[in-house]
Symmetry: C2
Subunit: 432 residues, 2 copies
């Protein structure tokens, strides 16, 4: 399958300056050629033509930390103290979810991700075989991992998670990759974490974990072990693997050096850290130290959506607030952390640049339809600081169009709305 995208107003890719008036030729799963429209006549052979007049092209966004099935908890619990939020709302709800609920809750989240320009995501939850079915069906790219909480999952959960990671890796034409995912150092004991670490090393799997999310977590470790969670994990060489660490909001002295030394991949969740009042992560310090930072939305229950453009603006403005510096995190940096840094975080090669030889995961954004794109001084600024996801017109993943002119090509929206709504409201009724 060859797709020709012509008349592209501008291409943004973090490896190069903006290119104007271009075409892109996609062949099967790969970006084959990018050139000026002056040379379009060279391209005679293609199966599908997209006219990108008045549109810009960017790599698809990569959401590196989420729990997509939790989309079914949107609006179910807000503005609550963390302990009541978890104990009275989130945990009781989760205790009643079955694998079909996870399927439909995830499907609802995938609609939102596609419609807001996300082409790949890293998910940590349960019944990941059902999530994998949806990744297969939707056409998205994903890094999937069964979440492990020792007291709930134990040896059986570990075996299931490892089995999933080994069996599902590289499925769906290579769009699925897998990791192991111990929930956090405070929900998994040292022995359990070491077992996970050894399995990850043996099978060359990455590890996805929550780390230093709240002050309480850090203080609990300081009280119990006289060291931070970061130091605690480092002391038994947990970081020897490829580590995707979500949050990393609260650091103790020496922690940053540990993250840097171990090439930890930080998944920053600015909106979740806001909703749950955890604070603002020291992202500018990470970036200055060449620690790779990407962005996650976290689950919808702590956000309340999966919109990477909202994260982009929030991330930038929160860094400006934290460092009292309006130059903190500019649009070029945002582009990197939403795209190429996400690919690095998920350990995926040849992804997230608009470049020949790279995977064809990209989005077309309409810059003439909506008032928030006018005037056109700087389309990247307009996209990250002014626009809404509704300007995302067309989404291509692995060389396949999964949304065109805002019409979803792989998912049945009405059916998913119906099932996710029905199941979610039924569960909440059981709890009340």
């Amino acid at each position: 399958m060859k797709i020709l995208i012509k008349n592209i107003a501008e291409i943004y890719s973090s490896d190069s300056k903006v290119k104007k008036n271009q075409f892109i030729l996609i062949e099967d799963q790969i970006i084959k050629k990018i050139d000026s429209m002056a040379k379009i006549d060279q391209i005679k052979d293609y199966d599908h033509l997209i006219d990108a007049q008045d549109k810009i092209v960017l790599p698809g966004f990569i959401n590196t930390h989420t729990h997509v099935a939790m989309t079914m908890m949107r609006g179910y619990a807000d503005d609550m103290p963390l302990d009541r939020w978890l104990q009275d709302k989130i945990w009781p709800f989760e205790s009643k979810i079955n694998s079909d609920d996870i399927y439909w809750g995830t499907a609802l989240g995938l609609i939102e991700m596609i419609e807001s320009g996300t082409t790949a995501f890293s998910d940590m939850y349960f019944s990941m075989d059902r999530v994998a079915d949806l990744v297969e069906k939707s056409g998205l790219r994903a890094c999937l991992a069964e979440g492990l909480i020792e007291v709930n999952d134990g040896q059986k959960g570990f075996d299931k998670a490892l089995d999933f990671a080994l069996n599902y890796n590289q499925r769906a034409e290579g769009r699925i990759s897998t990791m192991l995912a111990p929930h956090a150092p405070y929900t998994c004991g040292k022995d359990y974490l070491q077992k996970i670490k050894r399995a990850a090393q043996e099978h060359d799997l990455g590890v996805h974990i929550h780390l230093s999310e709240s002050k309480k977590e850090v203080n609990d470790f300081l009280n119990k072990y006289q060291k931070s969670p970061v130091k605690y994990l480092d002391d038994f060489n947990f970081f020897d693997n490829h580590i995707l660490a979500a949050h990393c909001v609260h650091l103790e002295p020496g922690d940053l050096e540990i993250l840097k030394k171990n090439n930890i991949q930080v998944a920053h969740n600015p909106i979740s850290n806001g909703k749950l009042a955890n604070g603002i992560a020291p992202i500018s310090d990470y970036l200055k130290n060449n620690i790779n930072v990407s962005i996650g939305t976290d689950g919808v229950s702590s956000n309340n959506n999966l919109d990477m453009l909202e994260e982009a603006k929030m991330a930038s403005y929160l860094q400006k607030i934290k460092y009292e510096d309006p130059t903190a995190m500019d649009t070029q940096t945002i582009l990197e952390i939403l795209t190429i840094n996400g690919a690095t975080a998920l350990n995926l090669d040849n992804l997230a640049l608009i470049k020949p030889g790279y995977k064809a995961d990209l989005q077309l954004i309409d810059i003439k339809k909506d008032s928030f794109f006018y005037p056109h001084h700087n389309n990247l600024s307009n996209l990250f600081y002014a626009a809404k996801a509704s300007s995302v017109e067309t989404v291509i993943v692995n060389g396949k169009i999964i949304m065109e002119d805002r019409e979803l090509k792989t998912l049945d929206k009405e059916k998913i709305y119906y099932e996710a709504e029905k199941r979610s409201l039924a569960i909440s009724k059981q709890i009340k």
Copy 2:
């Protein structure tokens, strides 16, 4: 003109609990009747029918601090140190703007405001007679004031501003109100401020001013006068008038009591305070002290849009961060600060509640179209924490439909896009 809105899924108004399955009858400029759909048969006489099936109704949002014409500077200057942002970008651009530019730049902003559910705004800028023409034409409600910077405007500017305030008050079927607007205590001297204060008292006009926006402003006052800007103004009784004070980010001890004692109307600009790295205003403390807080977007050049839903989420999550408390600013509080508190800030009666006898300024929001409204556990949470402005379907101001099913009824979008773009790019070329 009588408009009947039937089948409303839910009505949100900060004076009452959510009402389900309702109709609203609007007669001329006023909400005449609200009742259950069971009683719709009583209503035989109407000119226009709106079916609000799958829609919720809220009062229109009130943006209490903006400079709408600056929409023409969107994306023109971002991520820069404040002094270079002003001296190299904003001021040179503003020095080249004429009143036609202001007209078209403002028109561009009005499109965005209507499309995101804003029905009233408080504007401080130049050539306000041209802005008033657009308020008249667009059907929006606005509180307008000529901004005064002493060194630029002097006596002549003061005369013009007062003349405008007296002549334009209550124009456009009463949709226009006016204030006097000295820019800030650091750009207007004490004598000039006292002259403005006396004129405001004499003519019963409110005063719109920037106050305690940056640390630098406060520190400069402490160095020069050994008191904060708030204390400085209070010491010559500047606050005797109805005062709309934008920002109020940085307080010195005693300032909060002065704001409270003088019933200062705080216009909170969370996103602008983020972009310009000014910090997070102590809004929770204001609310605890019964200081009236409303929300402004500020100008687009320091935002970069006019979307009150973005402000809502940012405001709530920033307060949670500042106070390390996830219960800080819940959805009911957000509803108040976006609606009724805005009416109070602008000194407008019978506005911003969905209540018989109140002005018919309201919006219909589609809760079934977009994935981010699913599932429907809590539509107010979904609106403020998950939705995008694209869900706003219909906007009514003063009993007149100005957008219906997302079609603008009063403004020519294509013409405005064309003019605003052309003028804005031409100005930026002159500067380079």
